[in-house]
Structures are given as structure tokens and as C-alpha cells.
Symmetry: C2
Subunit: 359 residues, 2 copies
DNA sequence: TTGAAAGCGCTAACAC
DNA sequence: GTGTTAGCGCTTTCAA
């Protein structure tokens, strides 16, 4: 039985193994310059005594073998998928991942990120749409840093994004191909993204506008901004679907908002044929047959793996910024038939439904 | 703009404020014995310089103002609700919560818990059904420790559980009142709970057996053990529902398993009237109208708040062990009518359906 | 009420 | 290949 944590120090191990403290230190860090014999003796002493190095003490001089990840909220399943990918990529390594949720009363992230920096983590992963690029450049110069979801052209930190323009396009095109013309985009309030043009939801909104314009539907573009919560999405969707100008489709900025919209559709007794909903992130629940939500997949698990790789590269010394982009895919799940053309008769008939674009 | 982390030390602050290091230390810890004047000067210097104390250094002598929580997996929404409650309870305090997920290839928790202990956290919250009580007693003697979900009669750590016997009873009774007699209990393999009788799922299983026996259905008790995953639950449910002796109801050990069972029901084209499913934990998705899963609520958010309180009490010096119990409630959501008596004709008619027990 | 000084456990630089 | 030693930045006596 390994003692949980005790007052055994490196000194005790050194004494038990009959070597110096430095020797023990080298062994536990797998550092260069130890004989096999010494290594064996030290390892024996370590397990005999149940020695565990104090991370605080290591942090005073060297590394903490800890990586930190900040997420806006632990409630959003997409973020937890990223974490699953990250922990998976770290399994078997010397590194431990710790998670700092920004929390309910959060300030957009800096507080949680600073909490990680204060703890001397060796590197930081973060999903903070709302902090300024300059703030991140400063931080990135002190700590290896990889940001998710920001379309920044950074110098001192890496970024990983999916192509949100393309993702939004895919969503709109999917709905268009189902026959929809009145497609509303339900997204979070820009303030929640720090009013930054490089934030994921800002880019998605832009992609939505572009896609609508491309399809000749520019004048039907409608953005609805809500708080970042299922409940808020539900409320907005209820209002939207009860109003005179009811849209036939809702493209939600992420799956949680989509679930709120679906709840409203259900509560109002509307069928998926009457109102289609598309989400973003392709969280697990979207694929459930009872939900069957079409969603844009950006593979959270793979993103988690990639950002860990980027961060480890930075820790290993890379200093040029990396900017990786993932290609989003439509996960089409609405098994409903396309809406009848009657639903779009208030407009001149569209010529040709380019179904082959749906990929 | 506050610098992210820099090389400003307590020494620099002391110099800027014209005081000693000790004085600064006292101010940032809100310790006794500093004049208002000095406090003001120090605070001014701190914000001027953007000073942030290094947690590692603090950890060498005193506290780290960090609490750690270990969870088996970040995929289960119930655990994230607990974290939401915990972070909420900690908002505005000096403490930061860090999360260590045991991860996909986990060993049941000890590794992640040790990772937290290594980081000198001031206290640990954990949801580890599989570690031995003795191991936890050892740990609890070194670090304030609160365990969730374990029905242990511990001396050196606190516990918070819901009454799993009662919860299982409520689930079985609910199904019984709907007319079900062939009620299968779908739960995780005992090895995943470390084969411990005090583990939550072991207790739930016992509650299921007791409830079945009380209802005169002892000989119809059926336990199905699966891996702790939606996919595994789905597979098992598919097999179960395709077999000759098809049960009319499934009581799942937690909501994720229930979702897998529901998926199987849906995939097989069965209606909720034919096969009822009840879950445990009442995660958010259960209440969604498209899922409408009856579930046993043990209020994860409130549990998070309670364990934080218990942990802070321990940190403040309490040494007697606390053992709190939460009362579970049925969240009845199957709006389907009770199954026809035809479904239970292979048994003598039951006398009286005690519907008033449903609470 | 304030400051001086010791030392927490480790790593890194350097000597042997 | 191995040991010695000087700190890392704090908190905590303890003395003034």
C-alpha cells in the first residue's frame, strides 16, 4: 500500500539508498548521468518509503509536470469532450492535467487562467473567447499557451480552430437543401464573446450571413442573441415560434442552444417537419435517436489531442506560433422529408436544389 | 492591464511599499496585526506592480488556497453538476477548485487523488467508489478529505451520500405502480466499484433486491452488469429486449446507462408503453421533453455545495467525521399510461396498486 | 505593529 | 558518475 502523502522527503530517500539528494532528483526526473545500479537502488528506496515528490517544491526550481486547461463552463458537453481528448493524449506521460472552470459568475476566463498560471503549470490550454489578444500575447510570452476556438493571428501562442465560416455554411446549406428559406441564427450575445470578431460565435454568425447572401436570402437573415444557456435559447425560441413571422428553421450556435430550441419546438407541439433545428459541436446527445439533432461536428476529442500536442511542442521549445484549422462536417440526422414547397411559396421558386453540395 | 504572471516577487512589493516582506505576506493573507495605513500602501504596491503570489512558494510553508476534486470521468453529467455546485459555493472565497479526472484508463481514482495530494491542495473532494476505506483513512489523516457517494463509516474523512437503498426503492416502486412486474436492474460491473459493499451502485442493487422482495417479486429479480458507458448499456439492452424473456421495465443505475437503454428501446421500435426506463441522478437531459426520462434526483448541485462546506469545516479544524445523507426523490416523467394488465397475466393478479406510495 | 532571519523540499550549477 | 551547495519565493517564528 502506497501512503497517500507523507512527510518522506528526497532526503530520506537519499539516505535509504545511500546516495545524495541530487542523485535521487536525477532518477525521478529521468535525467542524464546515473548508473543502472544507482537507479535501481533509488527506485527501491522510493517504493519502500512510498516517496512522492512535492510538486510545490519542484515548482520552485523546475517544472510542475502539470498542464492546466481553462474552460468557460463545465456544463457544455463539447468542452468536456475536449478534455477527454486531452487527458487521453496525456495518459502515460509525466503530465497531469488540471481543469479550472471559469464558473458561473465568471469574467470570461482571465481569472481562471491566472489561477492556473499562479499554480506554476508548465503550460496552459484555454477556451476564452472574451479576453483580448494582447493580454494573451503577454501571457504567452511567460507560459506556453494554446488557445482553442480563437481565430487570432497570434505571435506568442498557438491556436486551434475549426473553420467556423465553413461550418455555418454547411448548416445553412443543409437547411436550404431541405427546402428551408426562413432560417434564423440563434447565437450567444456578442458581449459574451468579448465583442471580438475573432471569437467562434462571431465567425459563425458571419458565416451564416455569407451563406444566406450566397443563397439569395440576404434579406431573410435574422440573428437572435441570447444568454449562453439552454434555458435562454428555449425562451427565445418560444417567442420566435409563436410570433407571426415564424421561421421554418433554426441554426443554433451550439448544441446546448439547439436543445433549448428543440424543447420549444416540442413544447409547442410542432413537428421537425415544420421547424428544423441544426446545432453545432455534435455532442453525444445529438446522435441519440430520441433527439436526432443534425449538428456540425468539429471533433472535440481530436481537438483535445491536437492542443496537447501543440502545448507539449511549445514546452519542448518551439517558439513560432502554430495555427491549426480543423474542417467541420455536417452530421445530418433529420430523417424528416424536405418541407413541402408550399412552405416557401411566398417567394419565387428556387431553381435547382444543389443537393450535391451537401457533402 | 494586469500582467499574466511575471517575475514580481513579494520582495519587490515590499520595496515599493517601503515595508518588509513579512508585512506584505500578512496583508495578502488578511492576517492579524497590520495597520490600516500599511495595508493600504501594500495594496497599492500590489496593484501597481501587478503582483501575484506564487502558489508553489506558498505551498512550501503554508496553504495553497486550492481545493482539488477527483471525478471518475468528466463524461458523466452528474459529476459535472456536482462541480457546478462546488464552484458556486467557492465563488468569492479565496479558494480555487481544480479538477482531476481519473481519465479513460483510470485505476479507480487513487492516481488522480494522489496527483492532487502531490500538488499540496488544502483539501480533497473525491468520487472514488473503488479505493479501499483503509487507504482513504490514511489519506484523511494527512489531508482534509470528503468523499461523495460512499456509504463508509469513516473516522478520518467525511462522506456525503444519498440514500441509495431508498432511491432504488423509489425507482422500483414507480415502475411497479405503472403495472410493471418484470423489472430488470441494469448496473455497472461490481469490479468497477472495487467490489465494495459500500459503493453507490452496490447499495442501489441491494435496494433493488429489497424492493423487489417487498413487492413479492424476488424471483423476478434480474441484475445485468455492464461497463460504465452508454454504449455498453445499449448493447446489453438490445440483447435483453430481443431475448425471449423480455422485461417490461429497466431500472438503470444511472442516467447515462438509461440513455443507452432508451436508445435500444427506440432502435427496436418499441414504445415507452412497452418498455419503461428509469434512470438515476436526474441529469439535465432527462427532463428534456424528447427524452422525458423518469429519474431519481439526488441534486448534484446541492451535493457540490454541501461537500464544499464540509471540506471547509475540516480545513478550519473539525476532526470528528461527518456523514451526511441526502434524500432522493422520484422525478416522474413517463407520461405514458400504465401498461395493460395483459402484460402481467403470467402471474396471479396483484391485489391493489398502492399508488399513494409514489410520493 | 513591524522587521529579521530561518527554512520548507526540491533542482541546477558546479566541483570532484 | 556522483556529491555539495546555493538558492527558488514564500510563511512563520521571534525579537524589537
Amino acid at each position: 500500500m502506497i501512503p497517500a502523502r507523507n512527510s518522506i522527503t528526497i532526503e530520506d530517500v537519499a539516505a535509504a539508498a545511500g546516495v545524495s539528494r541530487a542523485a535521487v532528483s536525477k532518477v525521478i526526473r529521468d535525467a542524464y548521468g546515473v548508473s543502472d545500479d544507482m537507479r535501481a537502488r533509488v527506485h527501491a528506496a522510493i517504493s519502500d518509503l512510498g516517496y512522492r515528490p512535492r510538486v510545490s517544491a519542484r515548482g520552485m526550481r523546475g517544472a510542475t509536470y502539470t498542464l492546466g486547461i481553462e474552460i468557460p463552463t463545465i456544463k457544455n458537453h463539447f468542452f468536456t469532450k475536449i478534455i477527454t481528448g486531452a487527458t487521453g493524449a496525456l495518459a502515460g506521460s509525466l503530465y497531469q492535467l488540471i481543469i479550472a472552470p471559469a464558473g458561473p459568475h465568471h469574467d470570461g476566463g482571465p481569472q481562471a487562467i491566472l489561477a492556473l498560471a499562479d499554480r506554476q503549470v508548465d503550460g496552459i490550454l484555454a477556451i476564452s473567447p472574451a479576453v483580448s489578444p494582447q493580454w494573451l500575447e503577454d501571457l504567452g510570452q511567460r507560459t506556453p499557451l494554446v488557445m482553442l476556438g480563437r481565430h487570432d493571428d497570434s505571435a506568442h501562442y498557438d491556436t486551434l480552430v475549426n473553420d467556423d465560416i465553413e461550418g455555418a455554411r454547411l448548416a445553412v446549406r443543409h437547411l436550404y437543401d431541405l427546402g428551408h428559406r426562413d432560417i434564423v441564427h440563434l447565437t450567444i450575445r456578442p458581449e459574451l464573446d468579448g465583442n471580438l470578431a475573432t471569437a467562434p460565435h462571431a465567425v459563425r454568425s458571419r458565416g451564416y450571413d455569407l451563406a444566406m447572401a450566397d443563397l439569395g436570402l440576404a434579406d431573410r437573415s435574422r440573428l437572435v442573441h441570447v444568454d449562453d444557456a439552454e434555458e435562454a435559447a428555449w425562451e427565445a425560441a418560444m417567442k420566435l415560434l409563436r410570433a407571426g413571422q415564424r421561421p421554418t428553421a433554426i441554426f443554433a450556435g451550439h448544441d446546448e442552444l439547439a436543445l433549448g430550441a428543440l424543447r420549444a419546438v416540442s413544447d409547442l407541439g410542432l413537428s421537425p417537419a415544420e421547424v428544423s433545428v441544426v446545432g453545432y459541436d455534435d455532442t453525444d446527445i445529438a446522435a441519440h435517436p430520441l433527439i436526432s439533432l443534425t449538428s456540425i461536428n468539429q471533433s472535440g476529442t481530436r481537438m483535445g489531442e491536437i492542443v496537447v500536442r501543440l502545448l507539449l511542442e511549445r514546452i519542448a521549445g518551439r517558439s513560432e506560433a502554430a495555427h491549426e484549422v480543423i474542417r467541420p462536417r455536417v452530421m445530418a440526422r433529420n430523417t424528416t422529408a424536405p418541407v413541402s414547397s408550399a412552405a416557401v411559396t411566398d417567394r419565387p421558386a428556387v431553381e435547382g436544389r444543389p443537393g450535391q453540395h451537401q457533402q
